[in-house]
Structures are given as C-alpha cells and as structure tokens.
Amino acid sequence: MTNIRYANMCHWKSIPYKKIENFRDFYYEDKTNSAYYSDWDSILKYQAALGFHGIEIAPWDMADILPLFGSPENFTAFARERGVEVIGMFHGAHASHAADHFDEAVKSGREAVDTIVRFGGTYMNTCPTQNHFGCGPLTREEVQQCAKVMNEIGRYATDHGVKLGLHNEFFCAINLPNHRELIESTDPRHVHYCIDTAQISIMGEDLLKFYDDYHERISTFHLKDTASAGQPDSVRYAQDPEITDDGTRWFWEPGLGTLDLKGLYHLLKKHGFKGWMGIEYDGSPDLLASMALTRYYLDNELRPIYD
C-alpha cells in the first residue's frame, strides 16, 4: 500500500453522456475526436488507465451530473465500477468575510458537506472568500469573520466525516498579507489545508517553507506547476486575472514549470504525508495529454523520492 494515492481534480467541462453505446456510429457522424470526450464512461476509464483512482468534483459539475445520473449515489457507483472513487468536492465560500452573510455562508457550506457525503467523499477543499478585486483588501475583522465561518463549517464537516481544507488562489481576497493569519485563526481540529502548489507560489508563498511550516495542517494537495511564482499585487489584485487576455498560462503540468516539486517530495517523505494528492490542469488545452504527462513525471521523477 502506498502512502500517496492520486486523484484528478475535475476540470472536464460538461460531459453530455453517461455511456455511448453506439460509439462507432457516433464517431462516423463527423469523424472527429469529439466522440472521445463525450461520455463519462470514457473519461473515467482514461483516469483509471493512468492510475488516477480518485476524482474531486466541483459544484459547477452538479447541474449536469445530477440530471444525467439522477443522484450523487448513482454517479459514485458508476465511477466505482470503472475503478474511480469520488474523494470530495471543491467549495467556494462566497462572501464569508461579510458578517451579514454568516448564516448564508454556513448554510451553503453545510449543504456542500451533505452533497459530498452523498457522493461518498471525504474532502471539501474550500476557497475562503471571493476575488480580491471588488472586495479586498480585507480588514482584520473581516479575516476573523472568514475564520469564524470556516470553523463553523469545519465543525459540521468533521462531524460528517469530511475534512475541510482551505484552498487559496492567487487572486483571492485572502492573499499574501493575510493568508497565514487566516490559517492560524482557524481551529486545527476542524479546518485543514489543501496546498495548491502553483496557486500559493504565484501568490508569493515559498512552497517548501509553507509546507514545512504547516505540514500538520495539510489534508491534501492540488499538484501542478507554474512558471509564474511571486506575481506582484498589480497582477493578483487585478480584475479577473485567472484567465489571461493573451492566453498566457499560469499553470503547467509537473516538470514543465519552475517549482521545486522534487524538493516538495523530499519534505513529504520527511513528514510522512499519507493521503490523496489531486493533480490539476486548469488551462490545459488537452486534459488527457496533461494527465498522461503528469503520470510519466510522477512515476519517473517524484514517486522514486516518496511513494
């Protein structure tokens, strides 16, 4: 049994079919590769074949998955038959810094926990509030308000067998000046942390130092590379910076950026990390190619260090 299991953070856009029984006919209609990206049967098989036996879904997937499968339980059973388990779901805790939004933020977080439980998942990686543009910089009180919401949702999550992991993004109102303040203001029994290796590096954290400092809080990872560590405030606090106008990519497959991921794996070994590692390919033009490249890098560069 390995210490680390690998999952795929779901960045597939809508997948319209469960399983295409008439695959050859469907392909012949216009003879393009669209047929290969149109059903969950194929998508999950790609994951399983490449050794990604977990999937982290996202709330924006629900509008399609639920009508298609009828229930979270049905999706989970379908995935399991193909060797993939749902490990959790991402959650955005919109406006959790706003005191007058407390009840709504907690209600929404609890509902997300309930959804994850129905999928059989155990992780809820949570962005603590929205983008910096339009609501930042946050006051000290607003950061504390965020912490209060995270603690409240985290307690409910713990009670239901789910680990809430803070997940920060480089453009959020929780940003370099208050990132660690938020973590340290939350209850370590109920609020954990999901390191998105690229996001926190772009934000300006030193990946290795951050992991070393907070290794006891880390529940899971979103593993990806970047060639854009340490972006200035003018980029991080701009309006809608995640998708660039000119197609510049923030995120790359492991080994195609500049992060010291081998150094991270040495630290994982030092601290004996055990759990799921999610790989993520936001911005990739070809998710399947990214998944295969990542598998190669894992097997040849990272897993030999710590597995």
Partner: protein, 321 residues
C-alpha cells in the same frame, strides 16, 4: 435561385462550443481567441453576428467570453467600444441577442427561477439595445426535462408556471417596446412551450411578441418549416438557418439533456448544409413569402467552428445569387 441577400445573413457565436468538453476548449475563455475569430467572420463572408447572452460568465472571473454586459464592460469599457472594435474587424452589426434560462433551473425553488430569469433577461434586453441589435430572442422555458428534474409535478403545476411565464414575457415585451427592440420567442423542440405547445402561450402575449423560425428545431419536432412560415406569416421576427438529421420519435424532448439523446448518441445540430433539412428549398420559401427580416445561420454543436464557417458559406453560396 433565391433572392436572399447572402451578405445580410448573420452568423451566431453559438458555433463556439463553450460548455462541453473537447480538446483546445480552454482557448474559448480568453479574449484573444474571440478577437481573432471576429476577423475571420468577414473572411468567410459574414458581416453580422448574433450573440447568446450567457450570465454564467459573469460569475467566477471568466470575462474573456463576450456574452454578457459584465464581460463586455470589463474588457471593452462599454457596448459602444465593443461595437467599435467589432467594426474594426469588419463585423458591422450585432443582428440579435438570444437568451436561454436553463442556468436558473437548478433547484426546487421556482421563485428563484423566475426571479433570476426575469432579472437577467432584462439585462440581456438592455445589452441588446446597447449593441444596436434588431431583436432579443428568448427561450420561453428551460428544457422540459430540466424542469421536471426539480419539479416532478410539472404537469399539475403547468398552469401556474405558464401564468408566471406570461407575466415575465409581458413585462419584457413592454420594456422591449419602450426601448425600440423586437422581442422574439424561440421555438425549441425541448421546451415546455415547443412545437404545437407554443400556441396557447402566444395567444396570451401582446401582439408585439414575435416568433423565431428555427429550421432544425422544427424538423426535430416533425414540423415543416415552410408550413410554419405560412401559418405564422407576419409574426416571424427572425429566422435561424439550422440543420439536423434527428427526428424525435421517442420523446427525447422530455429528457433533462435533450440535445444529447441518451438512448442513441448523435450530433443533433449539424453544420448547415450537412444535415437533412432542405435549407435551399426553405430559402426559396422565404423569398416567396417576401420575408425581409433577419436571417441567422447557426452551427450549434459543430465539431470544428472554422470548418463550420466555411461549410455555412458554401451552403449560402448555393442559395444566393
């Protein structure tokens, strides 16, 4: 040969597959992709476009997709600046804007659906006016099967749902008249008000509310586009030249995702000229009826937007002098 003016046929931006997975889809969220695309439209003989109004891009920072007011204001400052940019690319007109409320049918709270749809349809109408469009074409309901996903008792609640739809559309029609733009109802095979189910709704709406004639949607529902044109002559607000080879004989229109028949996968909407709809014959029918309104070609669900552009032009070359 038909007399339809090829230069006035618009192309819908729905040829870009924003919502479904395919390789290279990530491009569609960046501004550079669209700005290159605009320049390709005139190269393929299109000088006017139709824009689907999609509130979803307003949430989550994806403002590179130019399909709502927030995105346009974020990237261009104003609709006027955007129009100026389009003109510089050779796109002279935004012919129309479409609006589809499926995004808001996502839970069992019917008040949420009507509240959000009313709000964003109003925004779409204002945006259409700012873009100088001829019409706002609205889908009068979400997918029938999407409604029953969250409201399984729809058949018993249909009267109340229809009453609220009439209120919503009547309010929108008044606003459209005030602002000098046409309000057009889309006639989609999957709608609660699709095919022959449209008439009772239409009867309760002001005469200013016009109809969209969408050739593929009618074909799927087993209705002749030419017969529809004759039946609603004088009330057609816009025409969509769309193609398909799909006929719904098993009630796919009632399923939650009716553009993707689960019992037999198929590309419902084919690139214009590659399906089974007699678009050349239909263009002649438009001429015979003296139809002078907007005509839009749509390659919704295309597997390759650039090939679809040229396929559509190849079709139009057959039906235009």
């Amino acid at each position: 040969m038909s007399r339809m003016n090829a230069q006035s046929v618009a192309i819908s931006l729905d040829l870009i597959n924003r919502h479904y997975q395919e390789p290279n889809r990530n491009r569609f969220e960046s501004k550079y992709f669209w700005e290159e695309l605009y320049k390709l439209f005139p190269a393929a003989g299109f000088r006017s476009i139709e824009i689907p109004y999609e509130p979803v891009w307003q949430f989550g920072g994806r403002s590179g997709v130019p399909m709502n007011r927030y995105c346009i204001n974020t990237k261009y400052g104003s609709a006027a600046s955007y129009r100026e940019f389009l003109a510089g690319c050779g796109v002279e007109q935004v012919t129309g804007v479409t609006f589809d409320p499926n995004l808001f049918m996502r839970n069992d709270n019917i008040h949420f659906y009507f509240g959000a749809t009313g709000h964003f349809a109003g925004e779409a109408l204002d945006h259409a006016v700012d873009l100088g469009a001829d019409y706002l074409a609205i889908s009068p309901s979400p997918f029938y099967g999407r409604i029953t996903q969250y409201h399984p008792d729809l058949e018993n609640e249909k009267e109340a749902f229809t009453d609220r739809t009439v209120d919503l559309l009547s309010g929108l029609a008044s606003k459209a008249e005030e602002r000098g733009i046409k309000l057009v109802l889309r006639n989609e095979y999957w709608s609660l008000f699709g095919a022959e189910r449209l008439d009772p709704l239409l009867a309760r709406l002001p005469a200013s509310v016009l109809l969209d004639l969408d050739t593929a949607n009618l074909f799927v529902a087993g209705i002749s586009a030419t017969d529809f044109l004759e039946a609603y002559s004088g009330r057609i607000g816009c025409v969509h030249l769309t193609d398909t080879s799909f006929k719904d004989t098993t009630g796919i229109w009632k399923t939650p995702n009716p553009e993707f028949p689960q019992d037999h996968a198929t590309q419902v909407f084919r690139d214009p000229g590659t399906g089974s709809v007699d678009l050349v014959g239909f263009a002649q029918a438009l001429d015979r009826h003296g139809y002078q309104g907007p005509v839009v070609s749509s390659a919704r669900q295309t597997r390759d937007p650039f090939r679809a552009l040229l396929r559509t032009r190849a079709l139009l070359n057959q039906i235009v002098n």
